[in-house]
């Protein structure tokens, strides 16, 4: 990884988690299963829209506090 400029571990982890979560959400199986009248795919999208801003803000504020 010497060919990359350094990035904070927490930021790498947040990015990888969000990208993996997005990929997981788009698996075709989640389209057919429903919970409380909404396809799991929909619940995963709702979760992504909640987790993404909160996680990124948390990572940012924690890094700022450490600095």
């Amino acid at each position: 990884m010497k060919s990359l400029f350094p990035m904070r571990r927490s930021e790498v982890a947040a990015l990888l988690f969000l990208i993996a979560f997005s990929g997981f959400s788009f698996l075709p199986v989640w389209r057919r299963i429903e919970i409380a009248g909404i396809a799991v795919f929909g619940w995963l999208m709702i979760a992504l829209m909640l987790i993404s801003p909160v996680l990124t803000l948390f990572v940012f504020l924690r890094a700022e506090r450490r600095d």
Partner: protein, 475 residues
């Protein structure tokens, strides 16, 4: 409609007033005109970023789409932008703010110093954003016609002249303040309406249960294959870090910390607005107005049936605010591509500040009037074209920008190759000359990344001076 019309006229007059007031300060300085002197506070910038991204589609369109295509598919289309914000905040905000210039072209032309970069990037921006502006003007015309009874042509001529006046004379200062007001208005109207809807039923889950029992299709994935949502998702996820009107906002922040925090807060606000619109207002629309022929009417129908006249007037102003807040930012970014990136690059230091001020104003008028001319008889599929336009920017700019900031082996050959190959592949895939059964943006991003790798392998290594300069941007 008198109350609605009076509120809208007052609102538009306010926008022009802000533009004229700001012009006294900004016309003589590039820094003031393009990036508001780099002194915009975090909260104001966050609201302005949210408003720039949230177009008419984010209020009227998102609810109409959820009503007709169901909640899961709609959220998939809008979640891409929500993923794009962390990418922008972590991957580009600090570095581009530290870079200290105005536009994405400035960075790419510095990182990959070649004429093709200096002129191809702004040309792509002008093409994509002009289409985007036409689509927004069409939305403004249709909205004003439906809500205020004003003829389509008169509405867009009037609206365009208002945009052009306050953008061309007031620059980034004017659009920051108008966007902040517009963003706050959108947020208050959508969140307020959503909370009122949920309050009456007791909880969001109870509301959702009632709606999905009455209309099961609301919670299902219907009509389209997941691949089509994936394409839209990827376009917006990769566009946010490089799209010019967001990048310019990053440059307006006081410092790198402010730039990142404002992106994070904008993402929270945008996410909350979309979720409340889809999960609280659409279910009420589905319960009270099943079988609407024009699904885009659902928000206004709900506002009409549930709230008094004055609140409805504010809601109409909020819809127009959504259209305007995106269009003004697009117009400024588009005129910066012409006046700063192309003509500024050609003229260099030979043009006086007065000449450059005239060029800046002229560029906004040329782009605005051209878009107006096209919007008077727009193509039927303009809404689809604008997404394709944004896809073109993602496909061509994402890889060279991210690699240019983070990969030490990214070099001139790789940068130029990834830019050109990304754009060309996307155009070929959109025209179905290249059809692999995958979303065009996914093919183009992969092709752009491969071109970067090949260029980096066979091209000359980047100079230590350039690597030191890029390294300094990460501090």
């Amino acid at each position: 409609m008198l109350v609605e019309r009076v509120l809208v006229v007052l609102y538009l007059a306010g926008c022009v007033g802000i533009g004229i007031f700001a012009s006294r300060k900004v016309l003589g300085s590039r820094d003031e005109y393009w990036v508001a002197g780099r002194r915009i506070g975090t909260t104001v910038n966050a609201m302005a970023i949210m408003a720039s991204l949230a177009s008419g589609g984010s209020i009227i369109g998102v609810m109409g789409l959820a009503y007709s295509q169901g909640i899961p598919a709609t959220l998939a289309l809008f979640a891409g932008a929500v993923l794009g914000f962390p990418l922008a905040s972590i991957l580009v905000a600090r570095q581009l703010r530290n870079f200290g210039k105005y536009t994405i072209t400035d960075f790419l032309a510095f990182r990959y110093p070649a004429s093709v970069v200096r002129y191809l990037v702004p040309s792509l921006i002008v093409v994509a954003f002009t289409i985007y502006i036409v689509a927004q003007l069409k939305a403004a015309g249709i909205t004003a016609n439906a809500l205020l009874g004003i003829p389509y042509e008169a509405a867009i001529i009037f609206a365009t002249l208002v945009f052009i006046v306050y953008v061309s004379f007031g620059g980034m200062v004017a659009i920051t303040w108008t966007d902040m007001i517009q963003g706050a208005l959108m947020l208050i109207v959508v969140l307020g309406a959503g909370v009122a809807m949920v309050w009456r039923v007791g909880s969001p889950l109870a509301l959702m249960r009632q709606a999905t029992e009455a209309a099961p299709e609301l919670g299902q994935v219907v009509h389209q294959p997941v691949a089509s949502y994936l394409g839209y998702f990827v376009i917006w996820a990769t566009a946010i870090p490089v799209i010019p009107h967001i990048v310019m906002r990053v440059s307006t922040a006081k410092d790198a910390k402010g730039a990142r925090l404002s992106l994070n807060l904008a993402m929270l606000a945008y996410s909350a607005m979309i979720l409340v619109a889809v999960l609280a207002i659409v279910p009420v629309g589905k319960l009270h107005f099943p079988g609407l022929e024009d699904a885009d009417q659902v928000f206004l129908k709900v506002m009409e049936s549930e709230f008094p006249t004055l609140i409805r007037g504010v809601a109409v102003a909020a819809v127009l605010a959504a259209v305007m807040s995106t269009t003004d930012a697009l117009l400024l970014a588009c005129s910066s591509a012409i006046a700063h990136d192309i003509l500024g690059g050609l003229l260099g230091d030979r043009a006086s500040e007065k000449t450059m001020a005239l060029i800046r104003i002229g560029a906004a008028w040329v782009v605005g009037l051209l878009a107006l001319y096209w919007a008077l008889s727009p193509p039927e599929l303009i809404s689809r074209f604008y997404t394709a336009g944004i896809g073109l920017l993602s496909a061509s700019l994402f890889v060279p920008t991210i690699a240019g900031l983070w990969w030490k082996r990214a070099n001139l050959a790789g940068g130029v190759a990834s830019l050109v190959v990304g754009a060309a592949t996307y155009i070929l895939a959109q025209l179905q000359i290249l059809d692999l059964g995958i979303a065009p943006v996914v093919i183009a991003l992969a092709a752009s990344a491969i071109a970067m790798l090949v260029g980096a392998h066979f091209g000359r290594h980047e100079s230590p001076t350039m690597l030191e300069a890029i390294s300094a941007l990460h501090d």
